[in-house]
Symmetry: C2
Subunit: 157 residues, 2 copies
């Protein structure tokens, strides 16, 4: 059973809905969830916010936070998740912002990805250093990490 | 060279930006575009609007249009594309809304997908009957069709 199938099953059992705010994964989390038939029961929208302006306009991320910490930061991940859960009115949200590569940026290394997983009673903010595995690998691992965190958050509700 | 690589090359040559409003593809078009290194030059946001409410809230699709024609309709595809290009302030947009299956809905057959491809000087609205190829195939073909239409629209600008 895929991660997305697991997520659908657990959320359906508990009556939970999810959303995703994606920067470096660029829609891969939403695509994985909607790959499963019946996913409309738990997922009704996703946000692909690749630029800073998109993060601000679509999710309400503060320009001051972006200036102070950069787009790839735990602070921005947290504001992305809060904006997503507010806009989607979902029970759970995950936000992903990182450096997929090739090469680093913002003086940050390739493979660094910040996540925020949010539920009504928990916030998990973390930075994972996947390393310079290549763009496709960093993106796939980030997608799977995000799905795993949503599963854990759903289990804990 | 992949469709997304082609799209990036053409849009970069012409200084064009793109966005995507996705229902049945659920983020696959955005994911394909952002799979290519350097895609931030042409793509800065995408909309995954799986539910009717998301189509209305994120893209300004009229509830009356949804009621009259259903979510899988050329009318809704066109409103999705116009909403996306307005919100993203991009040069090109594609919208995709269809029945990925399994099974039909809204009294419409599995595999029916409506697309709208928009540029500053053209609008292409179409319905493609992919048939009951299975959910994954319908979604992949829809993604590739959307990318191909964006390439054609970029070439024609």
């Amino acid at each position: 059973m895929s991660l997305a199938e697991d997520l659908l099953r657990i959320c359906q059992e508990k009556g939970l809905t999810v959303t995703a705010a994606e920067s470096c994964t660029g829609g891969m989390v939403a695509a994985a969830i909607t790959d499963v038939a019946g996913s409309s029961a738990i997922f009704e929208r996703g946000f692909v916010t690749y630029s800073n302006i998109a993060k601000t306009e679509m999710l309400g991320v503060s320009p001051a936070t972006l200036d102070a910490h950069g787009a790839v930061s735990e602070e921005v991940a947290q504001e992305m998740a809060r904006g997503a859960v507010g806009a989607a009115q979902s029970d759970l949200a995950v936000a992903i912002t990182g450096i997929a590569g090739p090469g680093g940026s913002e003086f940050k290394p390739e493979g660094r990805v910040c996540f925020c997983t949010l539920s009504s009673d928990s916030v998990l903010v973390e930075t994972v250093e996947f390393g310079a595995l290549g763009r496709a690998n960093v993106r796939e691992r980030s997608r799977d990490h995000a799905l795993q965190r949503l599963i854990e958050a759903a289990q804990a509700v």
